[in-house]
Amino acid sequence: MTGERDAELGRLLEGVRPPEHRPRFWDDLHAELSGSIELGRDDAPERRRSPWLALSAAAAIVLVALAGLLLRERGGDREAGIATNPSPPTTEQAAPSAPAEPLRPEGAPRSRGSGRVVGIDPSGSFLYVAAPSPEAAGCEGMEGHALFVEPIDGGERRLVAPATTVDATGQIRLRFGSGGDVAMWTGCDGGSGSIIVGRQRDDGTLSDLEAMTRPSAADGEELIIGDVEFRSAGVLVIVTSSYRTDDEPGTAERYRLSELTIGTGELTDLGPTALSQVAVAEDGRLATLSPDGTISFAGEVLGRFDAFDIHVTKDGAHVLAQTSSGVVAIDTATEASVDLEATAMLSDIRVVPGSRSAVLSEMVGDGAYRLVQIDLATGQRLSTLFEGAGFIRDFGLRPDASGVIFDLSPPLTPEEGAVVEGGAIEIFEQRLTA
């Protein structure tokens, strides 16, 4: 849907030209960004940096990170075809979950060294991390990172694959399929992502790595890979968005789905759809959000919500919808929904294996994060697993729920400035007991 501007109102509004900034606006901003602002100086208005405002900003930022992909109208039947044709579960269990029991932190978080969490394999044997490496070329001046693997219960951290094959400097997402299949998508920035497939060896390293053909952009457009998931054995579903590089107002993004068959390399464009967002359960079933707020799962309508972002738990038991007033969990079997406690700033979610609960990361302030366990049936918080200063970029749960592993960037203090180098990001594990 594309709206048209009301020309008369537009002229009226344009008649009120915005003033220039106050004289020291940019100087003050530079000082604040550099961590050395002097408050209340000359004509600068009094700074009002309430925690509430910080939370709101954090929420906006998280929502951007979560917003995912807005799909244009047309061809919705194709998604329905995908959703109603689920394949067998690939890695994690899809069995009905047990009632949620609170997980309790056991001792203090333990450092596992520097790096960023990329993922934990479905067996719970290996932790994959992105860490600085001189062998990685990096991108655009960023310190190069490579993908490493380490036994989750301790042991040597090893390079997964040559850094020239898998560069983990920018974003990197690792997906596990059935039978040892893995897929990654990496990118220096949103527009230069690549899709790499391979197989997991017994020692956690990857073999048979191969860069796959990725969907291409039309002339004058840039294409971004939004998500890649195993839809079934050997088949990936790829969500992309594209936009015109001239960045002209009114050039809305176009969203498409593609399917990639690993064995043949065949890339099938499934086209744009009437959906505004999709999320993929572990077994390939799709949760979808339509522009009118209708949320469906596996082709079945769950209801209409004032939602703008959705997640689905890996087992497909719940769809979580981010609304303007918080997060709602919808039971996909009963269609019952419940508001989750204090998750207005949801950042990411991991379902607790074998339990009707999930661990969420959420911003709780200006530079503070916490990990909380929420009962998806009642919406109540069961436990706070970690809370501290800094930014959690990613985290993973051991499949037996005996620990949560997360990376923590230092808080952006005035002394440290805003620069967070790769080596400064540290991985911690908080052991848990049921």
Binding site: R47, I61, V64, M142, F391
Partner: protein, 185 residues
């Protein structure tokens, strides 16, 4: 891997992600005009505009490391600015009446150079103040910034249908107030 080149927006975003303040400020200055327009129209005074934009820009910088490029940088920044302005409005109530006189008054789509308070004159700001915050944000983005419903939906994190309904209601309120003003003048 791409070769080095003159700083493009993706280059600057990458550098900003690594904490490069200068690169981030270049990005901000490139996009500042529409952000000023949005903030000023929403908040109604330069002081409020500057306050909100400083908040928004600092928040953006603190979070740019997590910007994945799933949306255009301008959309991402618009969203932070819009959300910050909404926060300011909700926190402070509405625009202060005593700030309404800062801008030229408008009659029938044209600025009135005299700017006096003639009987029946329609004050655009006063009309905007009659909108609720959500309607105001949508109206300014669609009719003020000329963005599509898709873009506004992405910026505000709402469905396209919600954008449509809010802008329709907002236009109705504005047209009623503007028309009333013209008839009484």
């Amino acid at each position: 891997m791409r070769s080095r080149r003159a700083p493009s927006e993706p280059d600057l975003v990458d550098r900003a992600r690594q904490g490069d303040v200068d690169a981030f400020e270049v990005l901000l200055r490139r996009h500042d005009d529409p952000m000023r327009a949005l903030a000023h129209r929403m908040l109604g005074s330069r002081a409020a505009m500057d306050d909100a934009l400083q908040d928004a820009y600092v928040r953006a910088f603190r979070s740019v490391a997590g910007f994945r490029g799933d949306a255009r940088f301008s959309t991402w920044l618009h969203r932070i600015v819009a959300t910050t302005c909404i926060d300011h409005l909700r926190r402070s109530g509405r625009r202060a009446e005593d700030e309404l006189g800062e801008e030229p008054r408008v009659v029938g789509g044209r600025q009135d150079p005299a700017g006096d308070a003639a009987v029946g004159r329609v004050d655009l700001r006063r009309a905007l103040n009659r909108l609720d915050v959500d309607q105001l944000a949508v109206l300014l983005l669609v009719d003020g910034e000329g963005l599509s419903y898709d873009e506004v939906a992405a910026i505000l994190g709402i469905a396209n249908g919600t954008v449509s309904s809010r802008v329709t209601r907002a236009r109705l309120v504005m047209r009623t107030l503007l028309l009333d003003g013209r008839e009484s003048s």
